[in-house]
């Protein structure tokens, strides 16, 4: 064999290496690997963490980009003030909430990353093994806030320990244009049958209802889970294991959804995320959509800056509660929760920051910066001034008091499988496949059943 490397030989070797590298890099999982089971220890606050009393250290807080930017500004100000006072360098990172699961998964595997993470739903119970027990924080906060809504416990507690702290709840109501409804002789609907008739009228008038059916964390599941439940459908039985989605009730709900979309909704909703319906409503293209109070808030803010359209939208908008179906008027329980990761080097400081944020003066100040966009998860905050001074905000508080909040995986327990189904958008996609015409309603229910069986096993 010749020891001389020719240009051709070199290029062949280098070319093979380059192509192989590109191939392997592309074929390697885009996702980060999970920790080995043996590495997952029950979370305990690491004693090495310096107490805040001694000051120093740093904290990073990964949270969402709030639909009401003023709440982010206020949170940043409050955490900075706390950091300055306690000599802790606090960095708050706001990202799209749909991107938080990936960041969290990477952080868990790498055992480094944000000390505190904010997310929705029961993520704390699902990640209980990698979260610090914050029962001490919660007990103090519960005492100061007069106790939380009972249902928050199943979102935050695992193995008898609080794993996350509840920050707030939003959604479950519809914003609608009172002037356009009046012009067309319709009123806020109380049932889904009325809802469809009103939507049809408004669509004929060129101002349809709009509803997201895309892949996004809030409005799509917030609308379609309750729609399913209100018509008797459910993804799983009480045992939390037996998939029950493929039922006559589910098929009926899907048929109704297809009819509803065709008769009364804007077609673009199939591609909408949680912000697209806000933009469409604010642009006066649609006359109603499921929403927290973010549209109402933004319209008010822009109206104050002299925007005429925003002023018209704000003055002529109101909210109505979730309509009722044959099986009631459920809403999707949920809310936003923050936990401390067990790899944090500054657990005591993280706990102290949460204590500060959850104390009534701070908590109320933050809530009020959103003017009702988030509702506090303690009955005490039903008396928040905004809910008394603005009757248009009343449906949000009524929601919390109604007791109609059902959870992911209902009527089974709030489980890891239910959370995975939610994150895979299976229920939303079941409706989307039928609405888009890709599958017939019965086939969409069968499709969902197949998908759910892969998760509930």
């Amino acid at each position: 064999m010749s020891s001389k490397i020719t240009r051709r030989k070199f290029l062949t070797i280098a070319g093979t290496a380059t192509a192989s590298t590109a191939l392997a890099a592309c074929a390697a999982p885009t996702a980060v690997p999970a920790p080995k089971p043996a590495e997952q220890k029950p979370a305990e606050a690491k004693p090495a963490a310096p107490a805040v009393a001694t000051g120093g250290g740093s904290l990073s807080f990964l949270t969402w980009t709030n639909f009401v930017p003023e709440m982010d500004t206020k949170l940043d100000q409050m955490t900075k003030a706390w950091g300055d006072k306690n000599k802790v360098d606090v960095k708050v990172e706001h990202i799209n909430i749909n991107d938080i699961p990936a960041r969290r998964a990477a952080a868990i595997q790498a055992k480094t990353g944000p000390d505190l993470i904010w997310d929705s739903q029961n993520w704390g119970t699902l990640f209980k093994d990698v979260l610090v027990d914050v029962s001490d924080v919660m007990n103090e906060a519960a005492s100061a806030n007069g106790g939380w809504y009972k249902w928050t416990e199943q979102f935050c507690k695992a193995d008898g320990q609080w794993k996350t702290v509840p920050h707030g709840f939003s959604g479950g109501t519809f914003i609608y244009r009172t002037d356009l409804f009046k012009q067309n002789g319709v009123t806020a609907p109380k049932t889904y049958d009325e809802f469809i008739k009103v939507a049809e009228t408004m669509k004929k008038a060129g101002k349809p209802f709009g509803q997201a059916v895309g892949h996004s964390f809030g409005d799509p599941p917030g609308f379609w889970y309750p729609f399913l439940w209100a018509h008797g459908g459910k993804e799983v039985n009480e045992d939390g294991k037996t998939v029950a989605i493929n039922s006559p009730d589910t098929v009926m709900a899907i048929e109704k959804a297809v009819d509803m979309y065709k008769r009364g909704f804007a077609d673009a909703g199939l591609a909408w995320d949680d912000s697209a319906n806000n933009r469409s409503y604010l642009a006066e293209e649609i006359s109603a959509t499921e929403n927290g109070a973010s549209i109402y808030f933004v319209a008010g803010r822009d109206a104050a800056k002299g925007d005429e359209r925003a002023k018209r939208v704000r003055e002529n908008s109101d909210h109505f509660a979730k309509p009722a179906g044959p099986k009631g008027a459920p809403i999707l329980a949920g809310g936003y929760y923050t936990g401390i990761m067990n790899y944090s080097k500054n657990v005591n400081a993280a706990k102290d920051l949460l204590r500060y944020l959850m104390q009534p003066p701070t908590y109320l100040e933050w809530m009020e910066s959103g003017q009702g966009y988030l509702q506090g998860l303690a009955p005490k905050y039903e008396d928040q001034p905004i809910f008394k001074t603005d009757p248009k905000m009343k449906p949000f508080v009524d929601n919390l008091k109604s007791g109609n909040a059902l959870w992911l995986g209902w009527p089974g327990p709030l489980s890891a499988a239910a959370f995975r189904v939610y994150n895979n958008y299976t229920i939303v996609d079941m409706f989307a496949k039928a609405i888009s015409g890709e599958l017939k309603p019965a086939d969409a229910a069968k499709w969902a059943e197949d998908q759910l069986k892969n998760v509930y096993k």
């Binding site: 020891s3 001389k4 490397i5 051709r8 062949t12 070797i13 070319g15 093979t16 290496a17 192509a19 590298t21 590109a22 191939l23 392997a24 592309c26 074929a27 390697a28 999982p29 885009t30 996702a31 690997p33 999970a34 920790p35 089971p37 997952q40 749909n98 699961p101 990936a102 998964a105 868990i108 699902l126 990640f127 093994d129 895309g214 892949h215 077609d267 673009a268 909703g269 199939l270 591609a271 909408w272 995320d273 697209a276 933009r279 469409s280 642009a283 995975r420 994150n423 895979n424 958008y425 996609d429 989307a432 496949k433 888009s436 015409g437 890709e438 197949d450 998908q451 892969n454 998760v455």
Partner: protein
């Protein structure tokens, strides 16, 4: 034998004077880096694909053999859709990128005023971060504020719901991929064209050839090695495309635009079933490996 020959340093020098030894020695650092950053993740990915590992689930991580692949192939219609999408997406966009890239290279190879500026400008889609440009496209495809639909409205046409109604979402992601990938083809082909001797063209012209004949019988055959390499890289990268779909449609509506990479992300990171996510990622590896092997074989034969 001189004293100098007896010095061990010279034996080392002689050893490294052999080109094969020196060549492989110089490759060692790169091989180590590749082993750490590509080899290890790849092997770990293979292992994960054979387990039921779920993120933050201490009861998972058990070896399940090919069960994940069996589930994907026989019990997961979204995966089948993503698989079909990946092939269709790669095939269609590659054809368009190839044809348009060739056209672009042919034009840029001409001598005209401002030639250099135009060449630089055509690279912009390739240079701009994908997510950034895709967000701009998303705005242009927006259901309420699409600039395309606004233009269509000016001439009395109601535009489609670009990201909402089938098949427009899939067409939309392909448009963005072609727009972004075409400059890579164009510039690579241009570089290849510039190495072709002008004498060949002059001789052909003297023989009375047409422009098409010169392109078909001179340009295209001599570009063949470049074309093969560009097609190979583009095929691999397009199969593994993630950013455009993620930023534009998130795989929706109703999973209609998922590619294997985005579906892997959804199942592995959002759905936390990282073992299944790894299986999705690795699914095409054997197919692509064969493509790479055959392409490189073809290149060697050319040599």
């Amino acid at each position: 034998m001189t004293r100098r020959d007896q010095v061990p340093r010279n034996r080392i020098a002689e050893f490294f004077d052999r080109e094969d030894v020196l060549g492989y020695t110089l490759l060692i650092p790169v091989a180590i880096l590749l082993g750490i950053f590509v080899g290890y993740p790849f092997i770990y990915g293979v292992w994960l694909a054979l387990t039921d590992t779920r993120i933050a689930d201490s009861t998972s991580g058990n070896f399940v053999g090919l069960e994940n692949f069996e589930r994907l192939l026989f019990r997961d219609s979204i995966f089948i859709q993503a698989l079909k999408n990946s092939f269709f997406y790669t095939a269609v966009t590659t054809v368009f990128k190839f044809v348009l890239g060739l056209l672009m290279a042919a034009v840029l190879n001409l001598k005209f005023r401002g030639n250099r500026y135009v060449r630089s400008a055509t690279l912009l889609p390739w240079i701009i971060p994908t997510v950034l440009s895709t967000l701009a496209w998303r705005w242009m495809f927006d259901g309420s504020f699409s600039v395309f639909n606004w233009m269509l409205r000016q001439v009395g046409i109601v535009g489609p719901s670009w990201l909402g109604s089938w098949p427009w979402p899939f067409i939309s992601i392909m448009i963005v991929n072609i727009w972004r990938g075409m400059p890579f083809f164009g510039v690579s082909f241009l570089a290849g064209m510039q190495t072709i001797s002008q004498e060949l063209y002059e001789a052909a012209m003297i023989d009375g050839s047409t422009a098409w004949q010169r392109f078909w019988y001179i340009t295209l055959p001599l570009l063949r090695p470049v074309i093969i390499v560009v097609l190979l890289l583009s095929t691999i990268l397009t199969f593994a495309d993630f950013q455009i779909v993620y930023a534009l449609t998130g795989g929706g509506p109703a999973n209609q635009t998922h590619l294997l990479a985005t579906y892997s992300y959804q199942i592995g990171l959002r759905g936390l079933e990282i073992g299944v996510g790894a299986a999705i990622s690795l699914f095409l590896f054997p197919v692509l490996a064969v493509i790479v092997f055959l392409t490189l074989l073809s290149l060697r034969r050319d040599d």
